[in-house]
């Protein structure tokens, strides 16, 4: 575990650089203080693939936010004069069985997939990290209980847990967020617990306790930041997995329901037209694949930049 400092810490490297008048004076070394953030960025910059993935995801986020202005057609308005058309200048990705523009639907679908991904992983991450820090800090029976439950949850494939939650809450995209959040909890709990265990014996934590700092404050201010680097890496990777799981749930009919332009639901819709109009399944499939791939590649790059020791090569 590298000595971790919150990624949000202000970078002193930018602070002292008050102007170009630094010159080759002895003080120049001060301009080169290596902050963890600066070091991270220096390494991350070299990960070309991850940079491209990150840029793509940023573009996708913009498109999702501004979908109503970017999309050439309304995603829900049918046009029965133009059903199941192939790609053309008017309809880049063709039209579906109701004559709706597939490209516009994919752009609107990006909103759903990104929202489900971010929300579910944030929810699961928040719960998991809190449990993990508490578990690692207090130890004892609290620790055993939380970790036992996590072990059981981890042993299940995500989709089965999600289906269990859906079976109780009922199908629908809102419930998919909770369903997918559940299986992110144990991973984040383990990560946070690991870093908490290694940090709670640090001198500064002992010192904080000695001067009477409250447990809650120690956990929030001194232990939580240590877990953040790993949490960020997994955050990116889990979003990819969550988007994939949510799309799977919609595909099997337990997530977003048909008129919704959710990518998995669009694929389920297009199933009946395989061989007749392949564009209806081809383009939403590409959208899911490329988005999930980008999150995974970004996660790989973040991991390598945060901790070169973990690097596979």
């Amino acid at each position: 575990m590298t000595a971790a400092i919150p990624a949000s810490a202000p970078s002193p490297a930018q602070g002292p650089a008050q102007g170009p008048a630094q010159g080759p004076a002895p003080g120049a070394a001060a301009g080169h203080v290596r902050t963890p953030l600066g070091e991270f960025w220096r390494r991350f910059r070299r990960q070309k693939v991850a940079l491209i993935a990150g840029a793509f995801l940023f573009a996708l986020l913009m498109v999702a936010v501004f979908a109503p202005w970017v999309a050439p057609y309304d995603p829900a308005t049918p046009d029965y004069m133009a059903i199941l058309q192939g790609s053309s200048a008017a309809h880049w990705a063709g039209t579906d069985a109701y004559g709706r523009d597939v490209f516009s639907r994919i752009l609107f679908g990006a909103r759903i997939s990104l929202a489900v991904g971010f929300l579910s992983v944030s929810l699961g991450g928040l719960a998991g990290v809190s449990l993990g820090v508490v578990s690692g800090y207090y130890g004892g029976w609290i620790d055993s209980l939380i970790m036992r439950v996590c072990d059981v949850l981890l042993a299940f494939p995500g989709i089965l847990l999600a289906i269990g939650v859906i079976a109780i809450l009922g199908p629908g995209i809102d419930n998919v967020i909770y369903a997918v959040a559940v299986f992110s909890v144990p991973i984040f709990a383990r990560l946070a617990r690991g870093s908490t265990l290694s940090l709670k014996r640090a001198v500064y934590v002992d010192a904080a306790r000695a001067i009477g700092v409250k447990d809650r404050v120690i956990m929030m201010r001194h232990l939580l930041p240590g877990a953040l680097p790993n949490v960020i890496v997994y955050f990116s990777m889990r979003i990819g997995t969550s988007i994939l799981t949510a799309a799977s749930l919609s595909f099997i009919g337990l997530g977003a329901q048909p008129p919704s332009p959710e990518w998995g639901a669009m694929l389920a819709d297009g199933r009946s037209y395989i061989g007749v109009a392949d564009n209806v399944t081809l383009f939403p499939g590409i959208a899911i694949f490329v988005t999930v791939l980008a999150f995974n590649l970004l996660g790989d790059g973040l991991r390598d930049a945060l901790d070169p020791k973990l690097r596979m090569a």
Binding site: I163, A167, I168, F251, I288
Partner: protein, 306 residues
Amino acid sequence: MLEYLAKRLLGIIPVIFAISVVVFAFVHLLPGDPARLVAGLDASQEDVAAVRQSLGLEGPLWQQYLRFAGNAVQGDFGISLKTRRPVLTEIGERLMPTVWLTVFAMLWATVFGLLIGVLSAVKRGRWQDYGGMIVAVSGISFPSFWLGLLLIDLFSVRLGWLPTGGYGTWAHFVMPSFTLGLGVAAVMARFTRSAFVEIAREDYVRTARAKGVPEAFVIWKHTLRNALVPVITMTGLQFGFLLGGSIVVETVFSWPGLGRLLVDSVSYRDYPVIQAEILLFSLEFIFINLAVDVLYAFANPEIRYK
């Protein structure tokens, strides 16, 4: 070894108890009165009472649980609300198709995952490595249901070589098992590569090379055999995840297995079947994990004596 096995077997008893409670509580977690939910909004008072009895929802909770657990131990999970047949019969018919599907998927995924992983590790930094890892990271990101649809489009609709779905001959197995195994093959390839690379850094591998052992021998005897230990664990765990993946793949290929039964039951609110399936899946995962741990302990004495 026997002592370790006994300890592990005893250890899963509380887990099974916890899962049985969760599965039992499942019906009670539903918002509203489950009997009313099942019988329908316009059902008469008598109908609701009849459904309540058939779901075993009478009497105090602890009595309900004892009845549920007692019946479950004897293989009685009640009657399917959809087909009106015993749940055990429904599940029994669907079990083998799912088992065979996962076994075939696991077989090809292990073989190809190992091959790609070892090739990538041996040719580290060269095009084989980059090629292998591109395939692997793509395989992890590929939606299995989309892959299934693409295969159906190509091999069934266009070429007419393979059936679009269903169960019966070997031809029915080709596309579903390929689709199901791809993600696992990708995970195996990545994992094998990193395990292999790690072992290749060990002193004894360098020593072997230094004393002039032929390269092929270094790879097979010194590196691969040691790298396989963590890979075996991984294989076992992936088995559980294949069972989860089968839920989606069975839907794509109209496969008459447990996964599709589960999806249908959730859509139909066939609670007795859902309960039995969740219990069955959970038990499968527990025993697969147990088998993995025992195998691992067998391979690595350090764990046994801890």
